[in-house]
């Protein structure tokens, strides 16, 4: 008998060969790993798969914003349609609860008043080009969408303040060396990226006519915020962009001031359990975020913001707290418009706008808030015997389980109204070239006549000024936890919640009668005991003497 068949030998040889090859391969791989230079680390901050600098379509030159948009839409075919469906575009919001038609297109606010009749100025913050008539829908052409204002990463793109949304295309005054250069549109287009604080802030930090004027919790100090100002947006904190919380889908940005999620009961957003928005604290922090149980016992009735934003306008930028339009129009002795600053350097009076007051490190006012905001629209009648008029009022109460105590900036001032018809008036403040705009003619009668006619608003021809009040929910400028409010800020006789009287708050509330009776009885027993003791001592002495 032979030992192994030849076939058997062949199989063994093959197996040995495979093994040897594998070992060699393994060794080679190990060597290669050690020898190869380290691969360039992925830049996680800019994980885009496209470098727009290389795109032929974006080489320019571009003569206008719409030309850039056309180039963008060549690839991003749905972007314009998506954006045109959002409130950033329509400036219109049908409130599902109050059925009020809101949005910048319709509301009156307590700053500049109405967009209507002041379009080219106000729509410089529209995400489009050329919306110059609020009575019409915004322009429908796809190329009217402004991609760059939200996606510029160079910081060089800026919209002309009076250009109805267009950027400046040429230097307004070539002799002015300090004038800001018009953007190089091709350069900007090649360097687009995700939205940053700068993009959102270019409008939202400057609402109401200047840095920090409107919101109080949104101003340019957030761009380079120290940790103490904002733990989320500070580079020393989470270094968030706005969109990290205000998550977007199809260009629609989450988070609403008209219908706020005042109490998010969904908790932490995880796949399959999400409302597709991180614009609530609970989306990341959950609904039991504290280690101390008693603090967690508060979250059903107190919004996180109420304790964790101890004050707003903390970044060194003052916010406007009072705007009295009634004094506008007064000119200097030389007939020129006045511009008066207060001791802090803030504008105190402008002939164009009237009197102002500002605040820094402002303690918010607190209200029960279920998320629903109702406006006094220009078509709504008001009652001037009940001043201040609520430009908007927030709904909520202790009895309602969806309400929580929220912090607000309360903006106050005086605004023009029709004392006969009892409603707020559309004020025509800006025009480049007519003789009715308040800011160029300083004539209230003309400005209100022009504004109301333009807006087709009933107007008796008489005007006066009514005191108004507007509520702005405070939700940014979250402080480090060590700076959160101490309990006694609210739990004390005259604390921050002194105005909210529809519930029992320990240390604030008490029965005055019980307190009087209790302390009197205790005092009576104490005095009685002392008198009894005194009697005993006296009688004992007398007995000893006798």
């Amino acid at each position: 008998m032979t030992g192994y068949s030849s076939a058997r030998y062949a199989a063994l040889a093959a197996r040995a060969f495979i093994l040897a090859s594998l070992v060699t391969l393994l060794l080679a791989m190990l060597l290669a790993i050690n020898a190869a230079p380290a691969a360039a680390a992925l830049d996680r901050q800019a994980p885009s798969t496209a470098d727009h600098e290389h795109f032929e379509e974006l080489q320019g030159p571009f003569a206008s914003g719409p030309e850039v948009t056309e180039a963008c839409l060549g690839c991003h075919t749905e972007a314009a349609k998506q954006l045109q469906a959002t409130t950033h575009w329509t400036w219109e919001y049908m409130h599902p609860e109050t059925r009020q038609l809101l949005g910048k297109r319709h509301v009156v606010n307590s700053f500049c008043g109405s967009v209507t009749s002041n379009e080219p100025f106000c729509t410089s913050c529209h995400t489009g080009y050329g919306w110059d008539d609020m009575r019409q829908e915004p322009p429908t052409a796809d190329n009217r969408v402004d991609c760059l204002v939200c996606h510029d990463t160079t910081g060089s793109y800026w919209k002309s303040p009076t250009g109805a949304g267009h950027p400046a295309y040429e230097l307004p005054d070539p002799s002015d060396e300090d004038a800001r250069q018009p953007p190089d549109l091709a350069q900007v287009a090649q360097h687009i990226g995700p939205t940053s604080k700068q993009n959102c802030g270019s409008c939202h930090f400057y609402g109401g006519g200047g840095d920090g004027v409107k919101h109080g919790d949104l101003d340019s100090s957030l761009i380079n915020a120290p940790l103490s100002l904002d733990v989320h947006m500070s580079a020393d904190g989470a270094d968030f962009a706005c969109a990290d919380c205000h998550t977007t889908s199809a260009h629609s940005v989450s988070g609403s001031r008209y219908l706020t999620t005042a109490r998010d009961t969904q908790g932490i957003d995880v796949p399959g359990h999400t409302d597709f928005s991180r614009a609530s604290c609970e989306s990341c922090h959950g609904d039991a975020p504290h280690q101390k149980t008693k603090l967690n016992d508060h979250v059903d009735q107190v919004a996180c913001q109420s304790c964790h934003i101890p004050e707003f306008a903390r970044g060194g930028v003052a916010t406007k707290t009072w705007w009295d339009w009634s004094t506008a129009g007064r000119l200097g002795e030389d007939g020129e418009p006045l511009r008066i600053r207060d001791d802090d350097g803030h504008l105190e009076y402008l002939s164009t706008k009237g009197n102002f007051r500002y605040g820094e490190n402002v303690v918010p006012e607190y209200r029960w808030f279920d998320g629903e905001v109702r406006y006094t629209l220009r078509s709504d009648s008001l009652d001037d015997s009940q001043q201040p008029i609520e430009i908007n009022s927030v709904k909520g109460s202790h009895a309602d389980s969806t309400s929580r105590i929220w912090p607000f900036k309360v903006m106050q001032g005086k605004q023009p109204y029709d004392p006969v018809n009892q409603h707020l008036l559309v004020n025509h403040v800006y025009s480049a070239d007519d003789d009715t705009a308040l800011w160029s003619n300083f004539d209230w009668a003309k400005a209100l006549r022009a504004g109301t006619e333009y807006a087709d608003q009933p107007y008796s021809g008489e005007f006066d000024f009514v005191e108004t009040r507007m509520h702005w929910p405070i939700t940014h400028m979250v402080a480090p936890s060590k700076d959160a409010l101490a309990c006694s800020e609210c739990h004390s006789r005259n604390g921050r919640l002194a105005a909210l009287t529809d519930f029992y708050l320990p240390a604030r509330d008490r029965s005055v009668w019980l307190d009087r009776a209790g302390w009197s009885a205790a005092l009576l027993v104490l005095v009685g005991s002392l008198a009894h003791a005194g009697g005993r001592i006296m009688t004992r002495r007398r007995r000893k003497r006798s």
Binding site: S492, R510, L526
Partner: protein
């Protein structure tokens, strides 16, 4: 004369730790009530809760001790010589009369004390405990409870009971100084021993069993 153990070790431990806790609870409690600011509301509230839990624990031990030792009978009310004791505090103590009651291990408390301590245990303390626990667990109230009472009314009861406690403490502390000397009544509460006169002690009728 005879030296006799009146207050056993546990009883003294119970009395003094309860005293410390009650003083602390009153101090923190009236701050929570807003009467003054000392520790700050937050620390006061947290410590008030911790002290309350400690007192609840102590009470559970004390109830167990009273039941197993039969000492609970010390608090059975009696009218026997109640009038005499009241008469002593109102008049006798000024005229140099002897206290009409001598304590024994069978009857440590005079009839007035019995009444005072019984109302402490059956009225003030339960009012404090029940309202306090409701207050503490306000957030966990079931719906039917939310619908029937308010935090304000719970706080009202708790505060009223706290005032009753304060008044009890003032009177209790004063009357503890009314012995032969200033500290002669406090001393047995510390050492446990009282020098009793057998003859007088015998006169006291032990409570019926």
């Amino acid at each position: 004369m005879k030296r006799e153990m009146i207050y056993k070790r546990f009883e003294r431990f119970w009395h003094w730790s309860q005293a410390v806790l009650i003083f602390f609870l009153m101090f923190t409690g009236f701050e929570i009530h807003g009467s003054y600011q000392a520790l700050g509301f937050g620390p006061a509230a947290r410590l008030h809760g911790l002290a309350a839990y400690a007192l609840i624990g102590l009470w559970i031990l004390a109830i167990f001790w009273h039941l197993t030792t039969g000492e609970w009978r010390q608090y059975l009310p009696t009218t026997d010589r109640l009038g005499a004791v009241v008469h002593y505090y109102l008049i006798g103590t000024f005229t140099g009369a002897e206290h009409p009651f001598r304590q024994t291990t069978q009857a440590k408390h005079n009839p007035l004390q019995r009444l005072a301590y019984l109302s402490f245990k059956l009225l003030i303390s339960p009012a404090i405990w029940i309202s306090g626990l409701l207050y503490l667990f306000y957030n966990q109230w079931p719906v039917w409870l939310q619908d029937s009472i308010s935090l304000g009314s719970v706080a009202l009861v708790h505060t009223a009971a706290a005032f009753a406690m304060l008044i009890f403490v003032i009177a209790h502390v004063y009357m503890a100084t009314m012995g032969k000397t200033l500290f002669s009544l406090v001393k047995p509460m510390i050492t446990g021993y009282e020098e009793t006169q057998e003859k007088r002690a015998f006169e006291n009728h032990p409570p019926s069993r």
